[in-house]
């Protein structure tokens, strides 16, 4: 699809930012390939693309975290020195990172003020700062308590602090990188309202996302990135989700079809599982029955007990109360290796930190939960030939692109790493699958692959718990959906009875009795 230019911009809408021919390579990978784009005053420009299309890299170059190999950036008509966040900030460019850049142990005010005063000033002027923050807070309806510790704030509040950080510096260009990934649908709406206020006051916003409906809802113009290239530019009013989807993906990729099938017997049962935590319990009387041949989706804003639930089912922690039953047999011995040998497959949330050991080879990684079993070891001695055969088989069966079974695992791309983990976990036909954010950060091809594998396992009798923050994914794959909020779990709902709006309300605490809390 050739890229066509839109109509000439309204002269009142001056160009505030111009990227010309930006190219960035990481080793053999071309993350950005000669990208050029303009941003106008008072508009929301959406940067649309799949994971791995190069959106975040481009914005990190703009903000000075990375230096482009080629190309230049102009802000307000002047060249922007590369590689300097300080210069970007000074020109009025603010960035809200996907992973918040806040110091948890400090207060909101400290986080906002940091770097805004001359470093060698003899005393911080906190009173002035407090007044300015209060003023901004009020003007844009971004309410925060200036003396609260970041650690005590909800995800939505933290994002407000991030936006305030930029506004406090009088940002005139605001970049938001996947800002809705961690929000409930209602919080997302509130964010969009804020963005509207900001552009009314003349700010220019770049909104990075891979979610079509959000891009359609919030932007005036859309540019689409695919595999590091800018493939199209559209006025939002003149395009639709269908066209955008095609532009973004480049080739038609069929949505997975989920045929209803009769469920099998109960595979996993949780009864009033409680897990104590610091302050409030991490899990509070969670009960759930997972059958064979079904996928139960677990929705919720991250940090509401999903991690704790995964830890319990993975065998890493023992619940303080309640019981866990696998195929009618109550578990007393919480041990990951035992869980794995009982037929539980576990796809952890964080591939790099938990899923694999990057410095070990692929073959060493595929036996991490099974190295004590035959044929991989006998009487404490590892049979490397058996290990290598197993690793080679997984690499072939699951199409893991790698230099070989003895290569260091950290050299793999995210998608291939996830395939390796899938292969390791699925290799022994698990009867229960715990998939925690299995597609986060993967490109569309890898996402589809993971989905296919989960559906294949469902068809062959496995029961799956799918924890995800991507509501579309949950609504596509799940037979039933539950919502987690503050360590508690809602009753399961059949997919057909669930709407996004309803889920959003529940994620914010509605229906959990008394403690409804719109963050």
């Amino acid at each position: 699809m050739p890229s066509e230019s839109t109509q000439p911009p309204n002269p009142a809408n001056e160009i505030v930012l111009r990227l010309s021919g930006i190219t960035k390579r990481f080793g053999p990978l071309v993350a950005n390939d000669a990208i050029s784009l303009d941003l106008h005053r008072g508009e929301v420009l959406a940067l649309l693309g799949e994971n791995g299309a190069g959106k975040t890299t481009l914005m990190n170059i703009l903000f000075g975290h990375y230096v482009a190999d080629e190309g230049s950036i102009e802000a307000f008509g002047e060249a922007l020195p590369p590689g300097s966040p300080k210069a970007a900030l000074a020109r009025g460019i603010g960035m809200v990172h996907q992973h918040f850049t806040l110091a948890d142990n400090l207060t909101v005010l400290d986080n906002v003020v940091l770097g805004t005063e001359p470093l060698w000033r003899a005393r911080s002027r906190h009173a002035d700062a407090r007044a300015k923050l209060a003023r901004l807070s009020e003007t844009f309806g971004l309410l925060v308590r200036p003396d609260a510790r970041i650690a005590d704030l909800s995800v939505g509040e933290r994002q407000r602090v991030e936006i305030l950080k930029a506004l406090y510096r009088d940002a005139r260009i605001l970049i938001l990188d996947e800002p809705t990934a961690v929000l409930t649908p209602q919080e997302t709406e509130a964010l969009f309202a804020t963005l509207k206020k900001l552009v009314e006051r003349g700010l220019a916003i770049i909104f990075i996302s891979h979610k079509l409906h959000e891009v359609m809802a919030v932007s005036r113009r859309i540019v689409v990135l695919r595999q590091g290239k800018l493939v199209a530019e559209r006025r939002t009013a003149e395009t639709d989700r269908h066209e955008l989807a095609e532009l973004m993906v480049g080739r038609p990729i069929p949505e997975p079809k989920v045929e209803p099938i009769p469920v099998g017997p109960v595979a996993l049962a949780l009864k009033a599982v409680t897990l104590a935590g610091e302050g409030h319990p991490r899990l509070q009387e969670v009960s759930l029955e997972l059958h064979g041949n079904e996928i139960i989706g677990i929705a919720g804003v991250s940090g509401n007990g999903q991690g704790a639930l995964a830890d319990v089912i993975s065998g890493i922690v023992k619940p303080s109360n309640g019981s866990l039953t696998l195929f009618g047999q109550e578990i007393h011995h919480f041990d990951p290796a035992w869980m794995v040998s009982s037929g539980v497959a576990r796809i952890p949330e964080d591939r790099h930190a938990v899923g694999v050991v990057g410095d070990l080879s692929l073959e060493e990684n595929v036996i991490s939960a099974r190295y004590r079993e035959a044929p991989f070891s006998k009487r404490g001695l590892i049979d490397w030939r058996a290990v290598r055969d197993f690793a080679t088989r997984i690499i072939a069966d699951y199409d893991v692109r790698c230099p070989g079974p003895q290569a260091a695992t950290r050299l793999l791309s995210g998608g291939n790493m996830q395939k390796l983990i899938l292969g390791r976990e699925m290799a022994r036909d698990p009867r229960i699958i715990l998939a925690n954010q299995p597609t986060r950060g993967l490109d569309i091809g890898a996402v589809r692959y993971v989905h296919q594998q989960l559906l294949k396992a469902r068809a062959s009798g496995a029961g799956t718990l799918l924890i995800s923050e991507d509501l579309d994914e949950l609504l596509t794959l799940s037979d039933r959906i539950v919502v987690m909020y503050r360590g508690r779990m809602s009753a399961p709902m059949a997919r057909k009875d669930v709407t996004i709006r309803h889920l959003g309300l529940m994620m914010a605490g509605h229906g959990f009795g008394g403690e409804a809390h719109a963050a």
Binding site: S84, T101, N105, D110, L114, R123
Partner: protein, 313 residues
């Protein structure tokens, strides 16, 4: 004289403050490094360098305060090396720190042997003399303990106040505290993480060297091999004990020193019944106990020992 009445002697507390002084400097130094997210196990060697550099400068005719400055600069130089290896290069802070200690110590000993090839008794210098603070030194017990010390001791106390003020009341202090919690937050606000951390390590190392200089320029008048004798490692324990706060660290250092002074006196009292080595062990054992006691509560800087590489994917 019995074990209890010793506690109320002014001389015990005067000794405690004296013993505490080098610990205060070095603990502050380590605290600054760790607040910025860098563990500095070079401390023991940097103290040795400071002890030698300040002393040798004075021996060669510099005045005492110049000697102090020389010590601080020498410490900062090794701090820069540690900072360079651990911040932009992101090497293991454990291994690098041990390496810095080995390097600093052996370079010092080499320099000493070059400077004094054939001495039988170590050469001496005229050290800082005690300075009585008018009026205040007349207060009973407290006056003797606090206000008849050498200028370097007063400097140590002033340093605590200055460091606390800078950390909690100035923009640069906020930046240092933040970079120890989350370097990405600092980077996103346009401050250079590398510069900030290396700077903090260099400044912290200068303080460590002052701790060493106190030994040769105030406590003793000569340089001996092994004279730092584990004080650096004790200071690392004191930082934990003080929960990474200057005031609490000061308190910890004084408490520790008081205990040390007390055991010295107890040793004279009970030395006939117990081996003296038991008393000498106490400071080290105390440090370990302090670490255990504070381990659960300690609010350590979240990014401590985690290297930050700009642009790492």
């Amino acid at each position: 004289m019995d074990g209890i009445s010793i506690i109320f002697e002014a001389s015990l507390w005067a000794a405690a403050i004296r013993i505490a002084s080098p610990l205060i400097f070095a603990t502050l130094g380590e605290l600054i490094c760790e607040r910025a997210g860098v563990l500095n196990l070079g401390i023991e060697g940097i103290m040795t360098v400071g002890a030698f550099a300040g002393w040798v400068a004075v021996y060669h005719g510099a005045d005492l305060w110049t000697g102090v400055a020389v010590a601080a600069l020498a410490g900062a130089a090794f701090g820069l090396l540690h900072g360079f290896l651990t911040v932009p290069l992101g090497l293991s802070q454990h291994v690098t720190g041990i390496g810095i200690t080995l390097l600093a110590t052996s370079l010092t000993y080499y320099a000493y042997r070059i400077a004094f090839p054939e001495v039988t008794s170590p050469p001496k210098i005229q050290t800082f003399a005690p300075l009585e603070v008018p009026v205040l030194s007349q207060i009973p017990i407290l006056g003797d303990a606090l206000f008849r010390q050498t200028p370097l001791t007063y400097l140590a106390f002033v340093a605590v106040i200055v460091v606390a003020y800078v950390l909690y009341r100035t923009p640069i202090g906020l930046a240092v505290r933040t970079v120890g919690e989350n370097p990405a937050a600092v980077e996103a606000q346009g401050i250079d993480v590398t510069w900030l951390r290396v700077g903090a390590v260099a400044v912290g190392s200068a303080f460590m060297a002052l701790g060493g200089a106190f030994l040769t320029m105030s406590a003793f008048n000569s340089f001996y091999f092994d004279m730092v004798n584990g004080r650096g490692w004790i200071c690392i324990a004191l930082v934990v004990f003080g929960s990474w706060r200057p005031g609490k660290a000061l308190l910890g250092a004084i408490l520790f020193a008081a205990f040390d002074a007390y055991q010295l006196r107890l040793q004279q009292l009970a030395g006939a019944y117990l081996p003296y080595q038991l008393f000498l062990m106490l400071p080290y054992i105390l440090s370990i106990l302090a670490l255990i006691a504070m381990s659960r509560r300690a609010g350590y800087p979240r990014a401590l020992m985690i290297p930050y590489r700009k642009g790492e994917r």
